[in-house]
Subunit: 66 residues, 6 copies
Amino acid sequence: MPVINIDLGLGQANEEQKKQLIERFTRDAVEVTGIAVDKFVILINELPHENIGVGGKSLKTLKMGH
Amino acid sequence: MPVINIDLGLGQANEEQKKQLIERFTRDAVEVTGIAVDKFVILINELPHENIGVGGKSLKTLKMGH
Amino acid sequence: MPVINIDLGLGQANEEQKKQLIERFTRDAVEVTGIAVDKFVILINELPHENIGVGGKSLKTLKMGH
Amino acid sequence: MPVINIDLGLGQANEEQKKQLIERFTRDAVEVTGIAVDKFVILINELPHENIGVGGKSLKTLKMGH
Amino acid sequence: MPVINIDLGLGQANEEQKKQLIERFTRDAVEVTGIAVDKFVILINELPHENIGVGGKSLKTLKMGH
Amino acid sequence: MPVINIDLGLGQANEEQKKQLIERFTRDAVEVTGIAVDKFVILINELPHENIGVGGKSLKTLKMGH
């Protein structure tokens, strides 16, 4: 605790980028809150683009230009 | 914002049905709240049936009639 | 199961509107998926505007026109 | 309702262990709260170890001894 | 990690019952998975009954017998 | 989309600190993923310490030194 959940579309972050998100979010949260680094848990949930809706359309549809 | 998360079992909705859920939930939410359509994010999370429990049994077990 | 979570800002929906969201989301989901109505659980989580960020600013800041 | 979400790393629980988590969590929750067993929904979300951060490092990195 | 989220209605568990849920869920999860006790985080989210829908009706409506 | 949820204990971050978390998480995520800043939604959920369990004990109990 604290717990940080990140919901992304598949392919929006590769392994190296996920490593950076984990590092930088944790560092920021430690600096801002003063809570010890080992307390932080980060969970990255990746979803297919057909499973993500923005403004009533799926990300898959939006990416096909409709 | 607002964000709508839908947790489903794998196979409970195909791509077309997920498109309809995204469209209809967004339309309803816009009509009910008056918030602009482009503000809505919908995330559909699909889980294997062995990962879902109802009344103390997994959905997989329930579907096998136990 | 299925479970639908809705994250809203405080004041974005009054009790009557929350009732409508519950009714209409459940009706849509039943019609789209064919899953029985009594299986659906909806959870509405309301957050203070200072706890919501859009584009790097809090909803509270955005509403004050900054 | 109530809904219990469990976030685990892939491989931290096999099918039999997930069955036990569903059974034992539901039994405990019924005994503690008095709520009827059929009301409980449990969702187990399994994430790749590179998608999990603890103390600023991914579980994958930690397991490789860095 | 692992992280366990419990969504309850307000009043469905008092402080003592929440303590028991935390203790018993953690003990079960340790016994079932073999993961060390200090790794487990449990978050209990309590919602007003008008914010919970079951079968298309709010828990508040259901409790009033409608 | 993407959506970032942060679960904190009540009092672990005041309004100014929440502002900083929103700003810095968004800036980091933009720099790491290249996704446009206006796409990011951040939701901060604050829980009473009796609702948070770490290692089988509530945060409230731990803070009282037990």
